[in-house]
Symmetry: C2
Subunit: 220 residues, 2 copies
DNA sequence: AACCGCTTGTGAACGCAGGAACAAAGTCGC
DNA sequence: GCGACTTTGTTCCTGCGTTCACAAGCGGTT
């Protein structure tokens, strides 16, 4: 089977596609049937030309002079992102953040479902969160295998994150979202995407500080 | 006063500097006094040449043939990022995620301190988290003014995030970290940095799916 | 049926980030 | 004191992402 499109979609574009998908779902819920690139770009906070280029990566589905059909475009993006099928995820580290993630309903509507929650603290084990019961760490590998989970989320303290990463990888998990404030070095063939909340705050603070300096210079 | 360095540091570099700062702190705690670019790059998960280029943006502080002095470099980065001075932050939306953020000790050690927690639900008001008492939304503006908070964190449901954003901006907050799954349109002069956990998961899933396709092609 | 306005899709140019290679500089050994 | 080695700082270059601008195409109108 020949793929008519080059299947290499830039990572930056993929991130924006996920945002478009969210906006389109919101529009569809609001009863909109068509939308122009300018309006969609405004709602997503990006440049209209860039949005069109992003969409061109998945074979154009718009109608010139009219715009895009909301439902059709949503389906198309969902298909490319693989969001149609539900993906099994396991979550390790049921602290405050882990609890928040396990309870977050937003994941379910985007094609992700948690199939296992794990924590090292015996006091946590047995607790029920979002319909799942927290399991001990010893059951991690068996659950990953049984559920064929391909995504792992690490919300543990920093000092155990690497060992959790290794265990997840060994059990067959290929993609890991890491909230622990350490840089993980995964085995070959495993992707790690770091999400460091402190880093986000520091970048934000620096940009704000720099903006202040600029403003002071302009007035000077 | 003439600044010897161009103060325009690329945003990508700023994000990495925050990571280097974290690694350096860890090294300093471990008793290390010097570190080479290669070792530091490995610990941060980046290319050594790129790391040296990042560091060159803030005036080189390394010693050729030896490496970087851990404490001095840490101080330097902290100074450039403005992490020496503690910054006042307010947090709106004390759900599961908000509670996790308020309780997260990692922020304190990076120069951020929460000075106000707010929630619209009367049941939440009065609760004590991480040494602070949750306040009603009506007190938002007064607290921002009194504490001169410059950073706001939004962890509310999506439907009220824009109005919270507007109120924060009106009260004087210039930088906002948004965890709500909507694209905010801030007033001029206000920066918003979105952190969408579902988007992160979708990008991760797509990359993993694409990796699977690649592997299948190679075997074919 | 033909025209006109509107919107998409694409081609080109610009700027930026990332990586590799090389020169400068300092330390360790002899 | 001198040479060789190690490591930084810089420069060049390649590739990617983003933006602008224009041609192509469709619907509505006359």
């Amino acid at each position: 089977m020949i793929q008519p499109r080059p299947r290499t979609i830039p990572e930056a574009t993929v991130a924006r596609l996920a945002v478009y998908l969210r906006v389109l779902t919101s529009l569809a819920d609001g009863g909109r049937t068509t939308v122009s690139s300018g309006e969609l770009a405004s709602a997503a906070g990006v440049n209209p030309a860039g949005l069109r280029k992003d969409l061109s990566h998945l074979g154009s589905c718009g109608v010139r002079g009219v715009g895009y059909e909301v439902r059709a475009l949503r389906e198309r993006i969902a298909h490319v992102l693989g969001a149609e099928r539900s993906r099994a995820c396991v979550l390790v580290g049921i602290g405050n953040l882990g609890t928040a993630l396990a309870d977050y309903a937003g994941f379910g509507s985007r094609g992700f479902r948690f199939v296992g929650l794990f924590d090292a603290a015996p006091a946590r084990v047995g607790e029920e969160i979002g319909g799942l019961v927290v399991q001990p760490m010893a059951e991690l590998e068996a659950t990953v295998t049984a559920t064929d989970a391909s995504i792992g989320v690490i919300a543990t303290p920093a000092d155990v994150a690497q060992s959790v990463c290794d265990r997840l990888a060994a059990a067959g998990v290929r993609s890991i979202l890491n909230f622990a404030p350490v840089t993980l070095t995964p085995p070959p063939g495993v992707d790690v995407r770091p999400v460091d909340l402190s880093v986000e705050l520091q970048v934000l603070a620096f940009l704000g500080q720099q903006r202040g300096v600029r403003a002071a210079e302009v007035t000077a």
